[in-house]
Amino acid sequence: MITVTSVITEPAIASPAIKRKRRNPNRPTWEEQPTGWGAAMKFVVLSVVVLSVLFPLYTVVLTSLSTHAASVRAGGLVTVPGDLTLNAYKEILSGGIVTRATLVSVGITVVGTALSTVLTVLAAYGLSRPNSFGHRKILFVFLITMFFGAGMIPTYLLVSALGLINSYWALILPAVSAFNVLIVRNFFMAIEPAILDAARIDGAGDWRILGKIVVPMSRAVIAVVSLFSAVGYWNAFFNAVLYINDNAKWPLQLVLRSYVLQGVTLPGSGGPVGVNTGAVSGLPLQMAIMVLAILPILMVYPFVQKHFTKGVIFGAIKG
């Protein structure tokens, strides 16, 4: 078969100079070699796509590391490395609004992720035993919430009736998603029942089975679900607009909006920072706040990415 293929394709690729092109070992033998133009176009399009993501990040990071004078000379974002300094980071991390907001965001993310992961795993295990008491009705109760949202206004009124306005619990508590429970439950149910039965016969209770067998066997899915929930907590913005009215309690995303996007002057940074008026006196400072908001994402990213292939479909649908 293979010899036939090569007979068919070879005349097409053999140049008069008999100089055989190096063949990509990953290319199946039946597939034709790309034409020069095709390969060039592909390269250009892919480069544009990749650069459109990387270039803005590059200028932001570079500007945050530049001196104020360098950013003024560049007339805004710095694209060519010049005078570098860590002063912007020193300033925003030396206490004050940004430092506090970063700590708040880290706290909400850590507590929220821990809580939602533990509750999700417990609920998923509790619903994973076939024929257990009431699991069908409970599943139905969970499923409904995936199709009918409650709406913004009643949810807001509820949170305020519970006295959670200006409390971080308003951001942390409504976190267990029925969808994640079902995903993890599916993985638990795929575990060979004979293993669990053996443990049960040996006298292990449900807590022990969950902790010693089920969780260690499902590390990948638990990692994906908890990392997605961590990203959700870190990025949450509008919930904080709704529920946190006290500026002193703002998480980092609100600080980013106020002091960078809307250009409100950061107290103590000196000089107005009107982004829309063209004044850029605090630009490295502002860009340092942006980097602060990106950094945790970049730190967990390689870790999440390892599991993308496993969680590929549900991740994409969940969006």
Partner: protein, 332 residues
């Protein structure tokens, strides 16, 4: 079928269909519900915190929608506010600002559907033709990245690049041109929104198409190549039909969420471009309810939106069935 008395399965295989247990009684060991409750109490204990949270944060607010039929005031509360029938809904339908928000929402989502939706498909096809694994992994990890950024970050990034003091405007100005500000220009706002969505989500969108393409057997391509099909014909006759169900499924889901277009994205830029082009249903509900305090009116507007969304999903699903696709659900 499942209740057929001649079934030979041992009772153990009946696990998965607890509901059928009653009718197949002679074959199933009968356990009283008290015994099962006692047996499964640990499992129920494990689920209970999540049940509590879901009931409190999902079901209670669902019931709270009742205030759409009340003359609600926070001081009198859910219980004591008087019922006034459909008054709030009448006000919603007679309100030109609400109609304006609906038109804006539909314009933006239709525009995004046309100009955003094909991009991940095209990118997935392109990436699928990259056969060097390392290059492919590199491109994928880069284009997935913006999905994990918050909207605040994305909008700020766009402002720094396309805004009045942004990188492009500054560069143009330094070369003698006049600057521009895309962030505050209402005429180009829809392009800006779509550009931001493409930048943030198009890369992530390819993941599901790549997964669908990966399920195609390579033998199909080989056989087609044998028969003389070039790569464009192989794409047209093999790859695209293979991802067709996924495309239709995603289209239906898109239609269902047509009325909740990028809320965080828009509310961040609403002040900069003005409400004329940026007021959508969700922002309208927010400002009428939480900001202006007209709770019953805002809730009614939210319910109207939910109802239209439901009709859109059902309609799209029906259309999918008519086109011979399975859609998201089927009549049993």
């Amino acid at each position: 079928m499942t209740t057929s008395p001649v079934r030979r399965h041992p009772p153990a295989s009946d696990h998965a269909r607890g509901g059928a247990a009653k009718s197949a009684a002679p074959l199933v060991r009968h356990i009283s519900w008290q015994t099962r409750l006692k047996r499964d109490r640990t499992l129920l204990l494990m689920v209970s915190p999540t049940i509590v949270l879901i009931v409190v944060f999902c079901y209670v607010p669902m019931l709270g929608n009742i205030i759409a039929w009340q003359d609600y005031s926070p001081y009198t509360g859910f219980v004591h506010s008087p019922f006034v029938g459909w008054e709030a809904f009448v006000r919603v339908f007679n309100n030109p600002a609400f109609a304006h928000a609906v038109v804006n929402t539909l314009t933006i989502t239709t525009f995004q559907l046309v100009f955003f939706f094909p991009i991940p498909i095209a990118l997935a096809l392109l990436l699928n033709s990259v056969i060097t694994p390392r290059l492919r992994t590199l491109v994928q990890s880069v284009v997935y990245l913006p999905h994990f950024f918050s909207w605040v970050l994305v909008v700020t990034l766009f402002q720094q690049i396309f805004g009045g003091a942004g990188l492009i405007s500054q560069t143009v100005r330094q070369h003698g041109g006049s600057g521009f500000d895309l962030m505050t220009n209402p005429h180009t706002f829809i392009l800006l929104l779509t550009g931001q969505s493409v930048w943030k989500e198009a890369g992530w969108g390819i993941i599901i198409f790549l997964a669908a393409i990966a399920t195609v057997s390579p033998e199909l391509y080989e056989a087609a190549a044998m028969d003389g099909a070039g790569k464009w014909r192989r794409m047209w006759h093999i790859t695209l039909p293979a991802i067709r169900p996924v495309v239709i499924l995603l289209l239906i889901l898109q239609l269902g969420s047509m009325l909740s277009v990028g809320f965080e994205q828009i509310i961040l830029q609403r002040a900069a471009v003005g409400t004329g082009v940026s007021e959508v249903i969700d922002t309208y509900v927010y400002f009428q309810g939480v900001v202006a305090g007209d709770w019953s009116f805002a809730t009614a507007a939210g319910l109207v939106k939910g109802a239209i969304s439901l009709v859109l999903v059902l309609g799209a699903n029906k259309l999918a069935h008519m086109l011979g696709e399975s859609g998201i659900y089927q009549k049993a």
